[in-house]
Symmetry: C2
Subunit: 233 residues, 2 copies
């Protein structure tokens, strides 16, 4: 069994082992191949049965040229780099890592919001500059400060990551709306599913936790910001 890793550097810059893969076959790891369509991709896959990719695209043309391909493995959650429709047609399974970073992405997204609400680094710097200790009332803050409790979060894409974010902001006292093409029981426990136009109209904050598909590409754009979708002609 030949296994080709096209762009191993991002996932494993040297601090992880490829041993698990090596037990399955003859592994060749390239640090990088190409992040856009290139003849080098098919050339490197050659007659391998398994290709492992992170951001290197696997197109219809590459699949046609690599006749031995039996599996495409994506070392990421999003798999928009794969022409999955054509892989299905050719009966080549595509696997991804659906629960990669579930907790940390939710945590990180909420932290981005909190930075906007309270400007931690700005306060850190200005407190060190003496603006608290020199305040005659022993009080110091800079505006704007935003309290999230009672406000509304809209989550586009209520998969595992979206649900993590939903749980955190709900614990902060926010109302949580969600839009997803699929609704789940787990999702209903942490958010209220609503149509996209209602989410856009009522949310104070919007989290984008959807994968990149044709249906989600540019889902936030000038039209959705200027006027909710529901008002569009």
């Amino acid at each position: 069994m030949k296994i080709i890793v096209l762009d191993g550097y991002t996932e494993n810059p040297g601090d992880l082992s490829w041993g698990g893969l090596e037990e399955l076959g003859e592994v060749t790891v390239y640090d990088r191949t190409a992040y856009e369509e290139s003849p080098l991709i098919a050339e490197r896959i050659g007659d391998a049965q398994i290709v492992v990719t992170n951001k290197t695209p696997i197109s219809r043309q590459t699949m046609d040229q690599c006749g031995n391909l039996k599996l495409i493995a994506v070392l990421a959650t999003g798999y928009n780099v794969i022409d999955t429709a054509y892989a299905k047609e050719k009966q080549i399974p595509v696997v991804n890592v659906p629960s990669y970073g579930t907790q940390i992405v939710g945590q990180y997204a909420v932290g981005l919001l909190l930075e906007i609400c309270s400007h931690y680094a700005h306060h850190d710097q200005t407190v060190k500059d003496g603006r608290w200790e020199n305040n005659q009332d022993w009080c110091y803050w800079d505006y704007p400060l935003i309290e999230l409790s009672g406000k509304t979060a809209g989550i586009i894409g209520l998969g595992r990551i979206g649900q993590t974010t939903a749980r955190i902001v709900k614990a902060m006292g926010m109302n949580v709306l969600a839009y997803d093409i699929r609704q789940s029981e787990e999702g209903k426990e942490v958010a209220e599913y609503v149509p996209l136009e209602r989410l856009l109209a009522q949310s104070d904050v919007i989290f984008l936790h959807c994968a990149l598909f044709a249906g989600t590409e540019r889902i936030i754009n000038k039209e959705t910001i200027v006027r909710p979708l529901g008002c569009m002609p």
Copy 2:
């Protein structure tokens, strides 16, 4: 009824109305009086029945000098500026604002932690400096990055604010320990009460959400950091 506000500026720098108090009596508002013991405090209270303070201390001596005092109102949650033992002895009720800022303090405290975990402002600045767009793998972060899920938060003081923080970090997947001299049913729903020495020994992060009392002053000190209290002679 005479009502004296000793240090109104912090609470109301001009954007709020004192109208509610004015309906109750003759109100005199001083922007500031003194943030440490001073003869000016008793002088300004004079023969008033009600004194309203934020950070100006009301000492035994002041209470003795102001014989008409019937109520001490603190425009804050913490009331360590009042000699409450002596007020009790003199049968002067002391009131505070126990639910002031419950949600925002929990939100703010978690945001401080998230800034340490992910350095938002640093990443903001360095991304603007081009470190993401110039990265050949379209990947960029600086270490350290800390995932909170699975780690342990210790909350000292599991009152309303402590419970808010507990709910948020629990939603992030943290184990939550708490130490408090009083235990409540609400508290048990969001944290596991443990002795202080166990909290200090097992927590990756400690939140201080206790009021300032004799028993909590300097509760975090060289000894508690160097070796948990349980090991102290």
